[in-house]
Symmetry: C2
């Protein structure tokens, strides 16, 4: 997937997507606890990378975080600004964060790296690491894959996405300059496996 393809695919369905998944009501309670607990322990600015409709950015702001949401899809940023006035949003992507090096206390990448081809994930992670202060946090949410092997594509509702074995993505994150702290996975009968990795910038 090129970034342009992803932006075009989401741009055409931003309203539909925001209605279905753009509020905290659609978030699993375990994820809410995980993200908010993670953010609470950070110092400094948090960047919500690939913020989509902006509900996580707004929720983090409401819980006291110094947070900004970025997304490469202008229709999402428009929606986020309207839905959450007073919260900072701008158009940018994971490879071009446009923040000073080492300036961030943490990066949330919540199901926003799922469209990166496995060949492109290292560049995105390097960009996040470059912008993050030593000791800063990274929390990545994604669809889990099999216990062994590499990422595999699947037919996501909007545009092709990749699910990752947690251990494989954890290895990529570690190679980008992070210490992996925890991996969480959750399965249910009706849904794809969900996973999250918490890491700390070395």
């Amino acid at each position: 997937m090129s970034g342009a393809t992803v932006v075009a695919a989401y741009g055409g369905r931003a309203v539909e997507y925001a209605a279905a998944l753009g509020t905290m009501a659609s978030v699993h309670p375990s994820d809410r606890e995980l993200v908010i607990g993670w953010a609470r322990a950070l110092t400094g600015r948090v960047l919500d990378v690939g913020c989509g409709p902006g509900h996580w950015t707004a929720h983090l702001a409401a819980t006291g975080a110094d947070v900004e949401g970025i997304d490469p899809t202008p229709a999402f940023v428009d929606h986020a600004r309207r839905a959450h006035p007073g919260v900072a949003f701008r158009v940018a992507d994971a490879e071009h964060l446009e923040v000073p090096r080492g300036s961030l206390g943490g990066v949330l990448a919540w199901y926003s790296l799922i469209h990166h081809h496995p060949d492109d994930i290292d560049g995105a992670l390097a960009s996040l690491a470059d912008a993050t202060a030593p000791g800063g946090g990274l929390l990545v949410g994604f669809f889990g894959g099999d216990a062994v092997g590499s990422a595999e594509p699947f037919d996501h509702a909007v545009v092709t996405a990749y699910r990752w074995p947690a251990s494989a993505l954890a290895a990529r994150i570690a190679a980008a300059g992070y210490e992996v702290l925890e991996t969480h996975t959750r399965t249910s009968r009706d849904d794809r496996p969900h996973a999250a990795i918490l890491a700390r910038r070395t």
Copy 2:
């Protein structure tokens, strides 16, 4: 492991165990959210089976649950009663709950089935199912094993325990008369994999 062996092993170390693991401060935030959120959605009495020092029982009671803690180790029940006056505790084990059939709204078995030999787990689960009303809940916490295969023993600090591949324990729970709703796993560098299964009595 016979039940008597487990009781004897814990009985000799109940004070030490309670000091190290007997408060909510030792609980991972994700587990706290998981257990409390699960209990909040139940109707009826909750039995905390294998309650140990009683901190989960007391926490559930404080959040409004109608809850009773049982443990086969008398030293734990003594400790729990002293530490949490006003909360109900008694000596009983998973195979002999001593409650009416179908009377429970939910059973919490938080790291308390880990000492059951794989040959004995079905009997314990059947006992929990028998005591639970249709639609009632079950939440089992345990140490996770490999992605495939069966339970394997490991050297637990107190007495031999078994770690289960989540899918293998989920199959046992389903066979006992439950619908498995969700499986959660969590790994970290310093610790064994942790897992939890949420199920509903059919």
